[in-house]
């Protein structure tokens, strides 16, 4: 069973993602800050991470992405930035940090599900 980690400070968003992906055989993990996300990644080794950028705390999404992609153990994890930062510069910055994909909020749950399906299979 594939593991998906959703990192977002908004509980409603995390729940939305969880509900959206509940139809598949997936284990959904939650993290509301960057630190929390890193901790979970080390323990659970998720296959895909849905990563918000603007989060409270010391680490934002860019930092988390950079750290994970810089670590040989975690660099293969498929990281999808899922963020309200919709400007082109934000997207470029995210990709520069090693993100594999960039989703801009608000997003269509259906599209997200299709995307995850494609990645997993």
């Amino acid at each position: 069973m594939k593991k998906i980690l959703i990192v977002d400070d908004e509980e409603k968003v995390r729940k939305l993602v969880e509900v959206t992906l509940s139809v598949g055989e997936l284990e959904i993990l939650h993290a509301s800050t960057g630190d929390e996300a890193l901790e979970i990644v080390r323990g659970e080794k998720p296959d895909v991470i849905l990563l918000d950028i603007m989060m409270p705390g010391k680490l934002d999404g860019y930092d988390v992405c950079k750290l994970l992609k810089g670590d040989p153990d975690t660099k293969d994890i498929y990281i999808i930035m899922l963020t309200a930062k919709g400007q082109q510069v934000d997207k470029e910055k995210g990709l520069a940090m090693g993100a594999d994909d960039y989703f801009i909020k608000p997003f269509s749950p259906m599209e997200l599900m299709d995307k995850i399906d494609n990645i997993i299979t």
């Binding site: 509900v19 705390g57 909020k105 608000p106 997003f107």
Partner: protein, 637 residues
């Protein structure tokens, strides 16, 4: 020639001096010559008058002499003063002519006659004739060497006997001379014999003239053959006169004059005429001592005058040159000083001439120069000042520009930050709305789930609406338009109480406590906007505290009506405090992670309070709570 180095002063003086000397000498020479000429003229006129009278006396006698024969001549000779008798005796001792006619034809018995005839030389001696003491002079009459007779002249001795010994000698000489000239003339030519008497007379005239007329020093009478017939120097009688004057008169000149400076004589030669017939020349030399003395006096006087003139000219030159040159020298001096930079120099020349005009022009020029310099100085000072001022202004405006630039850069950063935050703040609720509504539409959901999702949608819609309101407010505030205040006298306590009602939600665990002073004064304010502030502050108080009392106070302080809202929440750090009124500034801490907001509320509140001339203030302590208060000025009618 005159050195180039000579000053104008020297030149003018020298040229004036030379001119004056020239004029002086010229006038001296002219006057001297004039004087000389007038002297000569007067002398000449005197001389010519004398000559003429001499000529008249000579020619008148000759005219008479022409008429007589030898007898008449003898008789005429006898009439000569001092002559007792005259006898012409031929070589046979016979009397051919005699004063006493009865004696003609007689044989002369006088031994002196025979002695003279014999020896052929002049014999003289005392005798008695007709009972009278006489002096007899016997002279041979010669033609060449031949003696053709003798002339016997007896002179009266009356005068001789009366006179002193000195005069006697003279008289004797006179007598011998008379007889000699008579004899000479008679013997010179038989033809001229008749002239003898005349000649004697002439010679006597000549003698007398030279003796008595002091101014006459020499007389010579020449006949038409240039032979001297009478002269003061008896030795010259009978000689040929061949000087310039005689020749000139012989050649037809009317008068010929000559000066002999050494002898101090003035000689005048004139023709001797009887009617139109030329008879000879009269040459008279006058004593010119006076003339020369006079002339030398004139010359000395002239020299004295000239010397004085030169001296005066020299003085005059200085006198005349100085007033001309002094101003020029002064002007030159002043010009030099002016040229060396002393612009205060002025020429003190006041004369009315060209130099004065020049000085005036110079002064005007100096004045203009000084004025121009002053203007330039002034101008450069002004310019300097202006430049300094402009530089300062530029610096200031540069500073302002830097400030503006910084502000703009900040504004630009703030704006992009705003965009980024705004989009985030808008997208976050939108995500919920879109996502859950899609789930509701596409998924089979339980009723409980449907209700839950619709609740999310509702919550986020309210949030979105509020965000949009705040954004609109801030945008209006930013653009400083379309954010009108409807001012009226308002009781702040009422506004507070009215808005507190919206927050009476016991489920949050908060309790709102009010402490309102009685009889609060009114404030002039927009109640809607004040309500917005109060809601904002209460919202914050609830959001950032887990529970506890929220104390709302209304009171008067420092002539202001104040409202304070105090919570018991997480508080704000000292680092964050100064920035909490900035737009979009949100305190990001672990505890605030779940708290939503645009970060615009306090910024808008501050703007509204300050627009009412009020003050907003915040006090906080981490973990203990925050108090935000604002005050508006008391309304005065």
């Amino acid at each position: 020639m005159l050195s180039v180095k000579m000053g104008i002063r020297t030149k003018i003086i020298a040229s004036m001096f030379l001119l004056l000397v020239f004029i002086g000498l010229l006038s001296f020479w002219v006057s001297y010559m004039h004087e000389k000429k007038s002297l000569l003229t007067s002398m000449q006129s005197n001389a010519s008058i004398l000559n003429r009278s001499l000529i008249i006396s000579v020619t008148s006698r000759r005219t008479i002499a022409d008429k007589v024969n030898l007898q008449t001549l003898v008789e005429e000779l006898s009439l000569t003063e001092g002559v007792f008798g005259v006898w012409v005796i031929d070589n046979s001792s016979r009397v051919t002519s005699a004063t006493f006619r009865e004696q003609v034809g007689e044989v002369a018995s006088l031994p002196m006659v025979s002695e003279c005839l014999e020896k052929g030389y002049y014999v003289s001696g005392f005798d008695t004739k007709m009972g009278e003491e006489v002096y007899v002079a016997v002279y041979p009459l010669k033609k060449g060497d031949r003696i053709f007779g003798v002339l016997e002249v007896a002179f009266e001795l009356r005068g001789y006997l009366r006179s002193g010994s000195r005069d006697r000698i003279r008289l004797l000489a006179q007598m011998s001379r008379d007889s000699r000239i008579m004899a000479e003339s008679l013997s010179y030519s038989i033809k001229n014999m008749r002239d003898v008497n005349e000649l004697v007379h002439i010679q006597r005239l000549v003698d007398r003239l030279t003796r008595e007329a002091e101014i006459i020093s020499r007389i010579m009478i020449v006949d038409d053959n240039s032979r001297i017939i009478a002269a003061n120097d008896l030795n010259r009688v009978g000689m040929i006169a061949d000087d310039k004057g005689v020749r000139a008169i012989m050649n037809g000149a009317d008068i010929y004059t000559r000066l002999f400076p050494r002898e101090k004589m003035y000689m005048v030669d004139m023709p001797l005429r009887a009617g139109d017939e030329f008879k000879g020349v009269v040459s008279v030399s006058y004593d010119a001592t006076n003339y020369y003395t006079h002339l030398s006096e004139i010359f000395q006087f002239g020299l004295l005058i000239s010397g004085m003139g030169i001296l005066m000219g020299l003085l005059l030159s200085f006198q005349v040159a100085n007033p001309i040159i002094k101003p020029i020298q002064r002007l030159t001096e002043v010009t030099k000083r002016l040229a060396s930079g002393d612009l205060s120099q002025r020429a003190t020349v006041t004369s009315k001439d060209e130099v004065g005009t020049l000085a005036g022009a110079f002064n005007q020029m100096a004045l203009d120069l000084a004025r121009s310099k002053e203007e330039i100085d002034q101008y450069s000072k002004t310019l300097e000042k202006k430049v300094r001022q402009r530089t300062r202004e530029l610096e200031i405006s540069n500073q302002q520009l830097r400030v503006i630039q910084n502000e703009l850069m900040e504004a630009s950063i703030v704006k992009s930050e705003f965009m980024s935050i705004a989009s985030h703040e808008l997208r976050t609720p939108m995500t919920t709305l879109l996502g859950y509504s899609e789930l509701l539409l596409t998924r089979p959901l339980s009723e409980t789930q449907k209700k839950e999702f619709l609740g999310f949608i509702n919550e986020e819609s309210i949030r979105l609406s509020k965000i949009v309101d705040d954004l609109l407010d801030i945008s209006r505030i930013e653009s400083q338009k379309d954010f009108p205040f409807v001012m009226k006298p308002v009781q702040l306590a009422e506004v507070l109480e009215k808005n507190i009602k919206f927050f009476s939600r016991p489920e949050t665990g908060h309790r709102i406590v009010t402490e309102i002073e009685k009889d609060l004064p009114l404030v002039n304010a927009d109640p809607e906007k004040l309500g917005q502030i109060i809601k904002n502050l209460l919202d914050n108080a609830i959001k950032y505290s887990a529970g506890g009392d929220i104390v709302c106070k209304a009171f008067v302080k420092d002539n202001m009506v104040c409202i304070s809202i105090r919570d018991q929440g997480i508080g704000i750090s000292q680092d964050d405090l100064p920035r909490i009124f900035d737009k979009f500034y949100r305190v990001e801490r672990q505890e605030t992670a779940r708290i939503t907001g645009t970060g615009l509320g306090l910024s808008i509140a501050k703007y509204i309070v300050e627009s009412h001339n009020g003050k907003i203030d915040v006090k906080s302590e981490l973990g203990k709570g925050t108090t935000i208060s604002f005050g508006l000025p008391v309304f005065k009618d």
